[in-house]
């Protein structure tokens, strides 16, 4: 047997990353991680220096959503670590695999309120899948392998390793085993055969079935199985915000997104269906509306890798715990399609009667955000990666941008993190160097991580930033218009900077569009350019996102336009 090599903590980390196949990390140095960054100086591992730690997590998150592999982050103790918190919570809510390595004050100072000390394992307890404080260098090798294993298996999620400054420099034997065994962690991958058989029978007998899929389809690469199931059994597909891309957005069986800003057809279908095949979704409140009146006529087959999601918000008639892809493949082998002809016709008539609203019809409307999104969609290649921020532009993108393949639509669905989109697009840039990356953001969201303009310039990243500039925090303004008597308390951002000048000051090429012609021309021009480009789309500030279901209302009570 080979003698185990002695390595110091910093070297162990880089060695483990190499063994895990990680070649890109995102981070920001500081006092407690000096040793790690010193080790990095001679390493072939690529490190992207961001301008705020929050951007490092979102970038790693974007990278992970595109590659399916854990994104890796380095940050220092105290404020470095606490700056990660929003990004970690974002990844946790959307089940994104991350491994975060934070420095901690030296062991002897822990608990003394030392300079730049924060209890980051305590702080991140509820927003990580698991976390570790490394007290003994001998534990570091297996903690590293456990962290990667936990992050990337079962229901994916962020795992944080907090390492005291002195531990980075201590030495211990390094033996690394990727196939680690964790006693309390045994995800179920294949579905229970009896339950799958029951599901097969229900699918055969259903006359008005729908498939309702979510982010789980993307994490488990179930898109092929889903497509085969939908097309063989002629079952329409509804995807949650997190699921967009798991089924081609231009397929005739696709009904769009359900819920608060979902399509009328999707919401009517979920109301009238007799069978929901729920795959990798968690029946979020934005989807179900008023729970008591959600899918009252339907039996529910609920497939999820996380047993705790089944029965959490809605009761499942047929619970199937397992990897969504494996379960769908199993279903396919046994599938007996039922007759859905009449149902598809009914859905078609809803789709014809209630197309997506394209915006206000007034002559003086100016540039409509919906038009901009549709142009971006029309002019982008099918494999373009789109990262959004949060708010109205996010919903318009979900509605109007046609996503055809999985791992191409990046958005903060669960936590709804403004500031996510731009750094996530940066991460995606590294994950798929050969594909176009487009960040669709708003003037509110963009200013939450605008400092990353420096990062894209320093690295000359090919990236288009489409800024949907309505001079307001549009989604909150919309709610104030509907539910708070148009009292626009602190949602009008009249004093925003000139974004073209800001971009240019950083060295980013910038364009502005205030008419439809200019918008189309700007997109075409930006798509010809190399390096980062920002387009400031000055849109009609009064546009609202329709359709809309008011919170905690049945999802078939839909406002399709006009005032409430």
């Amino acid at each position: 047997m080979m003698k185990e090599k002695m390595l110091k903590g910093s070297a162990m980390i880089l060695k483990a990353l190499e063994l895990e196949g990680v070649d890109q990390v995102f981070g920001y140095p500081g006092g407690a991680v000096l040793s790690l960054y010193n080790q990095l100086y001679d390493s072939s591992l690529k490190h992207l220096l961001v301008r705020h730690e929050q951007a490092a997590v979102h970038a790693a998150d974007g990278y992970a959503r595109v590659t399916g592999q854990p994104g890796v982050v380095f940050a220092t103790s105290g404020p470095g670590a606490t700056n990660l918190v929003t990004g970690i919570a974002t990844a946790y809510m959307d089940s994104v695999p991350l491994v975060l390595i934070t420095g901690q004050v030296a062991s002897r100072f822990i608990g003394t309120d030392a300079f730049q000390e924060a209890d980051i394992t305590g702080i991140t307890l509820p927003i990580t899948k698991h976390n570790y404080l490394v007290k003994d260098i001998k534990e570091l090798p297996f903690i590293l392998s456990e962290a990667f294993y936990l992050a990337s298996t079962g229901r994916r999620g962020p795992v944080l390793i907090d390492i005291p400054k002195d531990v980075f420099d201590q030495e211990a034997p390094f033996a690394y085993d990727q196939k680690c065994h964790i006693a309390g962690y045994n995800p179920t991958y294949s579905g229970h055969a009896g339950q799958v058989n029951r599901a097969v029978k229900e699918i055969r007998d259903a006359r008005r079935p729908v498939i309702f899929g979510g982010g789980g389809l993307i994490r488990s690469s179930a898109d092929q199985a889903l497509r085969e199931l939908a097309e063989t059994a002629k079952i329409p597909v509804i995807l949650s915000l997190m699921g967009l891309g798991a089924f081609p957005g231009d397929n005739g069986l696709f009904l769009g997104m359900p819920g608060m800003h979902g399509s009328v057809a999707a919401n009517y279908a979920l109301t009238e269906t007799d069978l929901i095949i729920a795959a990798g979704v968690r029946f979020d409140d934005r989807v179900t509306g008023k729970l008591d009146s959600f899918a009252e006529k339907a039996k529910i087959i609920h497939i999820d890798i996380d047993p705790a999601e089944i029965g959490k918000n809605v009761m499942a008639d047929i619970p199937i715990v397992g990897d969504v892809r494996l379960v769908l493949e199993d279903l396919l082998r046994k599938l007996k399609p039922g007759d859905t002809g009449k149902w598809l016709k009914q859905i078609e008539s809803w789709q014809e009667k209630y197309p997506l609203p394209l915006g206000s019809k007034k002559v003086e409307r100016g540039l409509l955000p919906q038009f901009v999104i549709r142009e971006l969609s029309r002019l982008s290649e099918p494999n373009t990666i789109v990262a959004t921020d949060v708010g109205q532009h996010q919903m318009w993108t979900a509605q109007h941008f046609i996503v055809r393949t999985p791992k191409r639509f990046l958005t903060s669905g669960g936590l709804g993190t403004m500031g996510y989109g731009f750094p996530a697009a940066i991460g995606a840039r590294f994950a798929a160097p050969e594909h176009r990356v487009l960040c669709i953001t708003g003037d509110g969201s963009f200013q939450m991580n605008i400092q990353e303009l420096a990062t894209v310039v320093n690295n000359n990243l090919d990236l288009t930033i489409a800024l949907i500039n309505n001079r307001s925090l549009g989604m909150v303004r919309q709610w104030q218009e509907f539910f708070y008597e148009k009292r626009y308390s602190h949602t009008l951002l009249a004093e925003s900077p000139d974004f073209v000048k800001v971009a240019e000051a950083y060295g980013v090429k910038a364009l502005r569009a205030v008419t439809e012609e200019e918008a189309t021309r700007a997109i075409e021009e930006a798509y010809q350019l190399k390096g980062p480009v920002l387009i400031d789309f000055v849109v009609n500030p009064g546009e609202n996102v329709y359709p809309m279901v008011a919170p905690n209302h049945p999802i078939n009570q839909i406002i399709t336009g006009g005032d409430l």
Partner: protein
Amino acid sequence: MKHVLAILVENKAGALTRISGLFSRRGFNIENIAVGETVTPGIARMTITVEGSDPVIEQVMKQLHKLVNVLKVSNLSKEPSVMRELVLIKVRAETGSRSDIQQIVETFRGKVVDVSPDSMIIEVTGTEDKIEAIKMMLDHFGIREIVRTGKVALLRGAKITREA
């Protein structure tokens, strides 16, 4: 309904916080909690009493299972089991009332474990009902302080709650 959960957990730093944090975060109320080592080194057993409907308890158990350090969760209220709690009660006891107190303690098969000129400490073990009953009886003399261990429980018969 009250449920008594037995949780086997790796005795690692923060494991207890993870469990109690989960209850507060998800809005589940812990009625009482008892922790101690098991026969297997490195594995602790927690007994948690929690109030909730069956679906709520099912959700509690599933969420507990998701914690990496948790090895086993079982609901002992669903099976025949022995449940006990130990209580120490400091009761006001002047010379005139001592024999009355002593008699109550004997009836409940408790023990007097400390005596001072004007107070006594009584140790009593039992089910919730029994403890409530003796509390009520002693209340009359004036309970000055009370401390409870929280409920502990084991399945009846040869069956045991194992890690795997």
